[in-house]
């Protein structure tokens, strides 16, 4: 039985991009860099971890615990490539189509 999947939060790609470029990163570092609330970032990182798009590595800071240092997994890198390629392809199509895009019937746009 496969667990029900959920869509990723809106900030997920931005967070993934930031970790890819500047990682490994801790929660507070990501929060500061992207100016996100604790709850928003927490929700997004949990969703990214559930999909194994990030790797939360345990890093000891005290006798009983520590923080997670996040890096992007191979799946995460593949998602970023796909997302960037899709947006670049869309940009090219829009440039070719010019103002036709604006004149398309909204129902079929």
């Amino acid at each position: 039985m496969v667990a029900k999947s959920r869509a990723l939060p809106a900030e997920a790609l931005r967070i993934l991009d930031d970790i890819q470029e500047h990682g490994p990163l801790r929660f507070t570092e990501i929060q500061k860099r992207l100016d996100l609330s604790e709850s928003t970032l927490d929700r997004a990182l949990k969703a990214l971890a559930k999909e194994v798009l990030v790797a939360p590595r345990m890093s000891k800071t005290s006798r009983r615990g520590g923080v997670f240092e996040y890096t992007v997994t191979r799946r995460g890198k593949a998602l970023l490539r796909y997302a960037h390629a899709s947006s670049q392809a869309l940009y090219r199509e829009r440039r070719i189509l010019g103002d036709l895009v604006e004149r398309l019937d909204p129902l079929h746009a």
């Binding site: 039985m1 667990a3 490994p24 929660f27 927490d42 345990m58 009983r64 615990g65 997670f68 799946r75």
Partner: protein
Amino acid sequence: MASIFVLGPGQWASDTTGPTPLKIRERLVDVLSAHHDAYILEPLAEDASDRDLTDKFYRTMRDRATTDILIYWPLEAKMQTTLDEIVLLRVRVDEPDAPRVWLLHEAGVLKRSFRGYEIPAGVAERSRYLDAINTLRAVAYEWRDEPELFDLARRLNDNLLDENASTD
């Protein structure tokens, strides 16, 4: 192709119904074996050349050229042997050919928050076990039920397809 040593308990600590932790680990091995070499530690045989389980543990890692360790950690299971194995891993965690460690733990094994994680009292009472878990530098994923556990294993499988895939 990765070589994955799947560690974890064999029995429940209480009268839990359903498959044993050993059966669940064997199913994890089946999932991972779709693309990789995955295995569990075989019992010490009567005529084995290994002096003890510590010898067998390290010899298995060496003979199978282990690249990855996957620790399955449910609640309510007998964890003593797994804790001992975690200490054995901790001893060698800084060696250049040390395998990557992935921890698939049930919610509650680690107390997770946006601040990080804490190992609750009861999970590892003795300081050497606490130190070992805390210092292992494992990549830790949390699951709440069996479907989530196996979803994680399948997704982890994809990540391990590339031998050069790095979590660093």
